[in-house]
Chain length 481, copies 2
Amino acid sequence: MPQLRLLPRRVWAALLSQLLRPPCASSPGAVHCHSQGTRDLSPQQMVVREKILDLVVSCFKRHGAKGLDTPAFELKEVLTEKYGDDSGLIYDLKDQGGELLSLRYDLTVPFARYLAMNKLKKMKRYHVGKVWRRESPTVVQGRYREFCQCDFDIAGQFDPMIPDAECLKIMCEILSGLQLGDFLIKVNDRRIMDGMFAVCGVPESKFRAIGSSIDKLDKMSWKDVRHEMVTTKGLAPEVADHIGDYVQCHGGVTLVEQMFQDPRLSQNKQALEGLEDLKLLFEYLTLFGISEKISFDLSLARGLDYYTGVIYEAILLQSPAQAGEEPLSMGSVAAGGRYDGLVGMFDPKGHNVPCVGLSIGVERIFSIVEQRMKTSGESVRTTETQVFVATPQKNFLQERLKLIAELWDAGIKAEMLYKNNPKLLTQLHYCENTGIPLVVIIGEQELKEGVIKLRSVASREEVAIKRENLVAEIQKRLSEA
Amino acid sequence: MPQLRLLPRRVWAALLSQLLRPPCASSPGAVHCHSQGTRDLSPQQMVVREKILDLVVSCFKRHGAKGLDTPAFELKEVLTEKYGDDSGLIYDLKDQGGELLSLRYDLTVPFARYLAMNKLKKMKRYHVGKVWRRESPTVVQGRYREFCQCDFDIAGQFDPMIPDAECLKIMCEILSGLQLGDFLIKVNDRRIMDGMFAVCGVPESKFRAIGSSIDKLDKMSWKDVRHEMVTTKGLAPEVADHIGDYVQCHGGVTLVEQMFQDPRLSQNKQALEGLEDLKLLFEYLTLFGISEKISFDLSLARGLDYYTGVIYEAILLQSPAQAGEEPLSMGSVAAGGRYDGLVGMFDPKGHNVPCVGLSIGVERIFSIVEQRMKTSGESVRTTETQVFVATPQKNFLQERLKLIAELWDAGIKAEMLYKNNPKLLTQLHYCENTGIPLVVIIGEQELKEGVIKLRSVASREEVAIKRENLVAEIQKRLSEA
């Protein structure tokens, strides 16, 4: 039997996911949310971001993706009728005489526009970039209006479910690589969802509206969602109850098998196609060794209009406070799906290019990693400086400048204080505070003897090294470190 | 005597710099300029961009800079009264109910806003990001309305000219590192320019307007600039001629010395301060070993309002067609200067933080490198895939999937075709076309014997390797390559 979700789990999940969102306005220290709903990223945050993005991009490259960049704004018409209810969140540019422009809302629509515009029939690309959504401050609860997305997509006509399986493999590699703890990827298919709506008696005109209610099941209880469907969206109560039987089902490949036997669903052609594909998908996921991370979940809806086939969403799990309960969800950190009709919307003749892809929710991941670092008191270096050039004496600026230029020219990361006569203690403190491991010290004595003192900040050991051997000695020490 | 520039050189320079701009609309192949004045970057272009940005950022890190990121849009009021004549080029967002917002025009103003907002008194930061300028299509001649900037800035109260000299050192390191050919950095000082205007008899109210005419001397002849100053800006002809004597002067530190002796300029307090600083600057540049790359140039004006001290601009030189002529300018590729008053504009109490910085004109550099690659017929790989997983037989998808997952999990960059039964020749052609160096081949024979064939695409040599040794063997080969 499919597992039934417990109400307390959802409540907990919603609470936790709110706690984990980057707090807007009330945050201490480095995070500043501007009145316009955006924020600066401080050097500390940039280090964390860079590490996460490096891992994500190197995974995309491991899977053979090419890079692509598109402009921040598109013609307004490119973005219209792509995002369903969320279209109101698009930022428009002021009409200053010229084309009507809007800031991009995601990276998927610009990719589809690029494929159509360049008449490309296949492409495996990644794209890291900012997108903008004008969410209302009361809704956002700490979400920012500008955020970074990391997308990987495979466009082209291929044999079924091979690229789709690779997308799920990539999500697993990235989430494992980031060491965020246990995770689960929920999978469903738009055709199964639509088939389910059809056999439950939902009028076709209400498919997307009911889908968007279903989409809230990770934040609201079934009772509340049911209420919304019946009261706000005018669904007959017995239809809602039929849906309820399905959307509370989740499980592995055995649930796929069960659904093939379902007396109602198995009568629907669309749903059967979706189930066939999911069965094949699970076969490939097993070969990839990741099937235990994947859960077929009939409640997964995904808000965007453009999905046509398999859809998925990764959530982080957290061990529950009380033993015996299921792991708690900490919110979605990656998602995607198949969109076979989007490219055709940009082609003058409507020629389509089937696509499947994923997007990593790096902002959520940033805040989880940041939160952890705060809790653990872990600090990060915000510079990579390897060597500091110091002097114990006055009037040694010229020698310091000559010396530091020599280091820079040898590719060594080096700093000095921009003072004519800094105190030695100030210089050494600077190294300790910023984590610079080596200091080279030049004074009158050293100048006379043609040597430089090389000091390890950690051990405070100092050795004299011939001036001409200094660069080689530093490079040796750095390569050993 | 200071060198006098020849008219033909300017004409040539203007011609060449037009030729070198990325051609809009008329370009073949990958570059597509959209009607809104922006463009997509194709995978080929992304590879070039990534290489250039890597070199630039690693230089910034070598000098101890921290990363920073600011939002694409700022409150409109943050950007007003910072850019002089160019303020009309700022993109505004539509008023959708909320704050009035504008897309950032450069990275300097957001940096100053960040310092003031966070009450930071010193910071050495770099920032790579896009900026937007709504230049009119007739003016742009192939310039894009969205482009990338790479900025490095040093904020803080330090001893004179030490950070300024480091900024020039950084520009030299980057331009040498990029191997763009010979270059020259023009240096001037806003105080020398203003002093020069004062002693020539320019009314103070016209300083910025006349400065912006002078700024055109790299694109227009002195005759045309003089005409503009007299006719359009209402300057007395004899005042223009006085200016003409100065702005045609350029040279090294000896020109600085000469200007100290100049009977008019030496009477001006501001100009003397600027000359003192330039003298000190040249001393430091000599210690850095870069003084021969720097030219004191009284015609350098820089358009932006916020500069207060030293200003500089790097140009690429090209050997002239005719022997005996001076090297030709190929347009500005980096620029910057000191802006000691900008942070105070964002501080409620007007507290200032002195700043100096530079911006690398990566778009110009991209197009030069791209142009060169086209001319030389050099091609770049757009993926980094190391190994291709192939089969000569039908019904081997499962084995290929298992094998490729093993490679991915070992961190090896691997691809396969998304087909159930691809032809071997198609698979090998794919490797040749995309530059993948290694192929692993699995078929019935190999499966039976527990081996995998490893093929070098270049030499076409194949060896059988035990399945369990495959990853180690591939890693060995890749580390040797």
